[in-house]
Amino acid sequence: MTLVTGAMLASDALTSGPISTITPLHQSPIPHAEVVRLLAAWTDDGRADDLTEHEERYGRLPSLLPGRGVRRHLLIDSVRRAGLRGRGGAGFPTAEKLTAVAAAKGRAVVVANGCEGDPTSSKDHTLMQLAPHLVLDGIAVACYAVDAADAVLCLHQGSPALEPMRAALAQRRDPVPVMIAEVPPRYVASESSALVNFLTTGAALPTTGPRAAERGVKGRPTLVDNVETLAHLALIARYGDEWFREAGTQQSPGSTLLTIGGAVTWPGVYEVEYGIPISDALELAGGESESLQAVAVGGLGGTWLPVSVADELPLTHEDFAALGLPLGIPSIVALPAQACGVAETARVLRYLAHESAGQCGPCMFGLPAVAEDFALLAAGRRDRELLDRLERRLGVVPGRGACSHPDAAIGFAARALSAFADDVRAHAAGRPCRWAAQQPWMPLPEEAA
């Protein structure tokens, strides 16, 4: 299994939401920046594999029956050496989670997070439609590694992945049967404690309390992993950690599915190696469709970067961390020069404020207040106190909610102030740019846009 041709899938990243149809558009012109692991079926024949084709392509999974296959702790050791990190946003080392869940008392539960709540991202839906068996293999491997008795795949109600995943499940008999849970399609419902709460009580709201690894679904040790993370796990179980490290960097090994949207020629989902410079990633998507000023990397909890900074910057956890930035979920939205970053950010904040679960004061009051400040700034309202007030609010809200939703929103806002510093000054002085009222580029669900 190595890396030959390019995968390019058109998704409707501009109009937001999960994609429902996928059309191949081109073969990418930069072979060195590509890797084909998760999306091999698609690159080869432009459609998903059924189970037989899937096993022919990737080989069968090694035995996952106790006493027959590789020992559990050796499997987890291999994941540790592979350096696999979560693809759901935080980049947490997967082996550490596996170890914690395996060590906790009680029969474990594996929860595959396929909600993909971030409107800038289509990668998980693309993966589940194109390689559903890889995701299910990953769930089976995770179940084996932590000796789980139950497995649940969480999808949003109405998700385009429901049907392909159900169809794939019907073709297999896994040692631990996989249930599908339909989660209310709200942004914070896919946060891990909210999923655990939903599967325990039916309320899809984040909670405070013990970590899921120790006491999760119905008090049992619970592994919550992103579906793409699990798909990589399925490949590590087959081909090993050295193979996995043939792509990517030391601290961000492997490939990742990356959603590229905004002002590029071919918005879509691409499989790339970690370490690809952002400018090369944009080239995969056919390059800019008009001249750019900035990119939003990492989704709604990510960061704006002026193109001058973003260009050469490799897409890795470590390169972002060196700049004090989170890498976030693998997504890029390209913002043209003729657009207003302040207004784009104001819309995102309004959406995130609207999506607060309304349980914690600093989040339910703080996010709307910050969103309102940004809306005034975007409109170019002259207000001497505006920037001071905003700075103060950005300082007090983080770290004070039950989940990291407010921290992510505030981080996005704070980083916008530095990425668009000149525009912010002009707006605050009562001179908004003339693009402020234009059609938005950041994809957001309609009710909020």
Binding site: T207, T208, Q359, G361, P362, G366, A369, V396, A402
Partner: protein, 70 residues
């Protein structure tokens, strides 16, 4: 690094309903934000304030404020 070790206070943000009692009882460590929710100073409670902190935790009407071992 803090100068003290020992228990520190924390607030459960879901349970807290902004009564603000804690900030009255323990102003040295707790202030309220503009919406009436407590902002806690970082780190363990200074030894001289431990009794006061315990009283504040006991007085919190929703038991959101907790004194935890450090």
């Amino acid at each position: 690094m803090s100068r003290y070790t020992g228990p520190s206070i924390s607030v459960d943000p879901i349970a807290c309903t902004a009564h603000g009692l804690c900030a009255e009882l323990l102003p040295e460590i707790i202030e309220l934000d503009e919406w009436g929710y407590p902002i806690l100073a970082d780190g363990p409670v200074p030894p001289a304030l431990r009794a006061q902190a315990k009283a504040a935790a006991r007085a919190c009407p929703t038991l959101a404020l907790k004194l935890s071992r450090g």
